[in-house]
């Protein structure tokens, strides 16, 4: 009390390592991390069409890589990443949409998420069926 002069000295805490401090943030970082999987797959596709553009020999070489068990394993990992991305994307979705009123009541978050996941499932089935029919 005695000394004059300003006594306030607000302390600013560092944000260093914030994402490690709370399970919620760890999960956030993990789902943000799925971007690496998406990027990887986009690159694989990019390489694929580049090889395709370079002709049959280049394509067959690339096909050998694709059919290599190791590469298939990598795709399994990618698949897990994509599935996680799908899951989290639709989990966040209710937070991003304006309220949807149906039959006088607000559609719940769980319903929105479930609808999103169902849409993903249906879209996937359609794509798979198209792929299968193209293949035959």
């Amino acid at each position: 009390m005695s000394a004059r002069g300003p006594a306030r000295r607000p302390f600013v805490r560092s944000m260093e390592g914030w994402w490690r401090k709370n399970p919620y943030f760890i999960e956030y970082m993990v789902h943000e991390g799925t971007a690496l999987f998406v990027a990887a797959y986009a690159l694989i596709l990019l390489i694929s069409i580049t090889c395709l553009a370079r002709g049959e020999a280049a394509w067959n070489q690339w096909l050998a890589v694709l059919t290599n068990p190791l590469c298939i394993f990598v795709h399994v990992l990618l698949l897990v990443g994509f599935l996680y991305h799908t899951w989290t994307w639709f989990n966040i979705m209710p937070r991003t949409l304006p309220p949807i009123i149906m039959n006088g009541a607000r559609v719940t978050a769980a319903t929105i998420t479930r609808t999103g996941l169902a849409a993903a499932l249906i879209a996937s089935l359609i794509i798979f069926i198209i792929a299968a029919s193209l293949a035959s």
Binding site: R8, P10, V12, M15, K21, F25, R95, T96, L97
Partner: protein, 251 residues
């Protein structure tokens, strides 16, 4: 005070700017009963153990918004968090994250007050309405549209939850956006056009990466993440459509 025979350790992150260079943890042993809140634990410390501990509180019933703090690293209202849920472990309390610590559990909240001011949180009527004209008509459905966003008690838990605000305090942030949205949605208001530039701005909604934790911790179910993200969509469509839609078409 009704002291049971159980005791619990409360660890408080203390900071006294006139003597500490950085915050330090201090432990207190507090007798407690099952109905005691963390706030009551702190009051016990203040009354019986250490009169120099500073924290904000008033209503004790989760409505004044004063007592937000990090409790075991989660932003919570101390009056609405119970010691029984931590016993027999130590409870760690710290000032709300992402704000400068004024002292002990007290944060500097000037930044939020400025933000609140900047969103024009009041009805901007299309034309002035005389009292003799009576109330505006507003159906329960029209009221429901914004009611949730009007429940914000300015407790700032959402700011302490939002890493994007922590990383960049220019971000308008979840709580203020919820209130901005509340006024935009009110059928008595015509001020949306005046508020949207802030939404569109570099300080605006695009700082949000949809972490969503703000809504998770909000004690009043305001869902500020929703307000922020709805406005992202709105802002983006305005960004692309502003040249095609005639001015003023947004309301």
């Amino acid at each position: 005070m009704n002291t049971g025979n159980k005791v619990i350790t409360i660890e408080v992150l203390r900071y006294r700017p006139e003597q500490d260079t950085a915050p330090v943890a201090q432990e207190y042993i507090v007798p407690f009963t099952d109905d005691m809140s963390v706030l009551q634990g702190l009051q016990y410390i203040k009354d019986e153990l250490d009169g120099t501990l500073s924290f904000r509180w008033s209503c004790r019933m989760a409505i004044c918004g004063s007592c937000g703090m990090m409790i075991d690293s989660v932003p919570k209202l101390a009056c609405q968090t119970f010691l029984r849920d931590f016993y027999p472990n130590t409870v760690r309390v710290e000032a709300l994250a992402h704000f400068p610590i004024e002292r002990d559990l007290v944060i500097v909240m000037d930044d939020f007050m400025e933000k609140l001011d900047s969103i024009k949180p009041y009805i901007i009527p299309e034309k002035p309405r005389a009292l003799s004209e009576g109330e505006y008509l507003q159906t329960p459905a029209e009221r429901d549209l914004y009611e949730q966003f009007s429940s914000c008690i300015n407790c700032l838990l959402c700011y302490a939850a939002c890493p994007q605000y922590g990383l960049n305090s220019n971000f308008i942030g979840p709580g203020a956006m919820a209130l901005l949205h509340r006024y935009n949605l009110d059928n008595r208001d015509s001020g949306k056009e005046q508020r949207m530039p802030l939404v569109h701005a570099e300080e605006g909604v695009f700082n949000c990466t949809a972490v969503g934790y703000c809504s998770e911790v909000c004690p009043k179910k305001v869902d500020p993440a929703n307000a922020v993200n709805i406005n992202k969509t709105e802002s983006a469509s305005d960004y692309f459509l502003r040249f095609v839609t005639p001015k003023g078409a947004c309301k």
